[in-house]
Symmetry: C3
């Protein structure tokens, strides 16, 4: 790919591991995927700790009934839902942002800040709740980065509306 | 890429900004990502307007308690969840549909109709509720388009089952 | 692409229908997308069967009011949410796993097992509930496969942290 430097950026192959931007995206996306899967484990931990199960077939303990709205379980579920609302759109947005062949330093640092912000978001929301604005800052970091990528991509592809 | 017209479609590079189909997908995916992120903002607006907060650390006003099940907040949250249920699978489905190198006019119009339909869905569900079947038609538009893409892709790749 | 066999794996074009691994991913991703969309239909079936509607404008029958927390509807909705929590991150994880150009037999069988496991998950959760550990095994299958892919990818791209 390095021999293609005379081509227009978009003619290069950007979606492979020879592209450091793609590599950086891939690494941090993997971290975020693993983090999201761990939310299921964290929910399960809370369910067993407080014996709160939503299905009849999940009642592993005697003398328990299906229960909802336990605050400890619901807090983790809200954090998990917030992940889905923010990280999943980010995955697509960042992936197509790579197609604009952005500056490597800018792109990689955006991926890093957005991903670390979401790790912090989980810590201060679901693991060890702390006063605001900790969660708000963590939440806004990825949102603003995703909006920035959206603006870059939309301006580049506006004539295909 | 235009010089590759003698190649089989799949041997072309389809995932770059030289491919107008990919450009059109990218533009409308960006619109939908931004729309989804705005659902978080709309939820926050409703939460502050009606002072409904789900976490102890979010109680920015005196004399409020954590509250759930407010109809104004929950309506936006249902619309947001419906987005996740439909737009996120569409992102992947449309992305892999591009690998079949579909007719550009068909593909681009599918992306446009599906995306505008979801903008309408949000308007008639979360912003200004109107009687059915407005929401049903908006909902069905993207679903049918996603099913159509799924059928095209599944027929092309069936032997890899 | 077949003439590029002397190149390093990552320099090949992996994201097109000449790559059997990508074809297999695409086929099974399509199956899972269709399965996820059918969850909306299944929810609608339950809503009409038990006349449980969450919005004022959805009250298609006389003498009904908006209702929540019906166990038949909520079971399908929990299954649908579990799909979003697991299948959507899997879509991205498996897609970027392909960039490592894995062994075709390993990769394709991972895609097949993970996808069939989620079909089973839906059957034993939302269609015909059976005692545990049926759902637990189906759930764990895709999770472990996703973790495995995450480990492979993270080790390959760790220096881009």
């Amino acid at each position: 790919m390095s021999t293609n430097s005379s081509q227009t950026p978009s003619a290069q192959e950007l979606y492979n591991l020879d592209n450091p931007i793609f590599c950086c995206y891939v690494f941090w996306a993997t971290v975020l995927v693993a983090k999201m899967l761990l939310m299921s484990t964290l929910t399960a931990v809370q369910r067993f700790r407080y014996k709160i199960f939503p299905n009849q077939e999940d009642l592993f303990f005697k003398n328990t009934e299906v229960q909802f709205n336990d605050p400890h379980v619901e807090r983790v579920r809200r954090a998990h839902r917030n992940d889905m609302e923010n990280i999943l759109p980010y995955f697509i947005m960042a992936l197509i942002y790579i197609s604009t062949n952005p500056d490597a330093t800018v792109a990689c640092n955006l991926f890093r800040v957005a991903s670390v912000a979401r790790l912090v978001h989980t810590l201060v929301y679901a693991v060890y709740p702390v006063p605001q604005p900790a969660r708000l800052i963590a939440f806004a970091s990825m949102q603003l980065i995703t909006y920035y990528m959206a603006a870059v991509v939309a301006l580049r592809t506006l004539r295909f509306i």
